[in-house]
Amino acid sequence: MDYIDPHIHMVSRTTDDYETLARMGCVAMSEPAFWAGFDRGSVESFRDYFRQLTEFEPKRAAQYGIRHFTWLCINAKEAENVSLSREVIAMIPEFLSSKNVLGIGEIGLNKNTKNESTIFLEHLELAVQYDQQILIHTPHLEDKFQGTRMILDMLMGDSRINRSRVLVDHVEEHTIETVLENGFWAGMTLYPVTKCTPQRAADMIEKYGPERLMANSAGDWGPSKPTAIPDLIMELKRRGHSRELIRRVVYENPRQFFSQSKNFDPTILPG
């Protein structure tokens, strides 16, 4: 079955992974800017990273017939450094007209600090100013509930934010409901240790239905499985769910969400 992975960090995957994903039905993906596993020293490191995301990765993906899109920001972990964050935010507009940029992301909170919140709000300002969609990272483990609520407070406290153009990622059982009922899109991240399994994601689809709900693999440099979406597809099939339901979650929803970005032409992917 064709599918789209709306949150996968391909810079940390091998070219063999691109081939495997293509064989498993991945036709498009979006890669939010994130933490590299170590703190970068200067704004120039981010400029090179954004070039990798906007120039190099789309070419690597295209070799396997996969469309590659991206989101730009300074991630929540490095946002603790406010002055570096401001330099990065000031540089982002240089890249916003690149063909594969869908918006600002993955912005969010990590340890729910004051500095992280300050930089989150400055990213929102950037998104509003340039009419960009937003992809959000919610914190892990014990910080997730508190951080998600703080993020929703900041989003809902700004009347200029169009909630249907915001995707809140890494939702779990205790955060999904507030995200969906307030009109945002929600992404479930299938991650072996700290996030959600395909079985629990299938439970949330059964409980909340497919409206504005997506799944992703995160596929990064940590223990993660880039082919997690096919695992979810298998689980939903095993439970007897219709092809239409599965396709809605793993293909049509991300396609519809991406379509709200200026740089995404939905005709490149069949409806």
């Binding site: 004051k114 709000l121 910080d143 509930f145 205790h174 439970d203 219709s242 239409e244 339901l245 809605r248």
Partner: protein, 90 residues
């Protein structure tokens, strides 16, 4: 075909038959972790993590539903609706 996930709801009997071995294996994993802790030298009875695990196990055994969400909330830091004031952010 329907996009309504409730259109093909499995019966409780079917879910139990399909998930029993998985539940059995997860309970054994957990039991073995508790045994491992018991065998290891040192003292953890008063460790906050042990208290938390104990409270989670109670949720698994009680008569209420929504267990996954309740375990998640138990494992979460508290949210303070006035956090912005605390941080001086408006």
């Amino acid at each position: 075909m329907s996009i309504d996930p409730n259109a093909v709801q499995r019966t409780a009997e079917k879910v139990l038959a399909e998930e029993f071995l998985s539940a059995r294996s997860k309970i054994l994993d957990l039991a073995a972790i508790l045994d491992r802790l018991e065998r290891a030298p040192g003292s953890i009875e008063n460790a906050a993590q042990m208290q938390l695990l104990g409270q989670c196990l109670k949720i698994l055994c009680d008569d209420e539903f929504d267990k996954a969400r309740r375990v998640q909330l138990l494992m979460s830091r508290q949210y303070d609706p006035d956090w912005r004031k605390t941080y001086g952010l408006h």
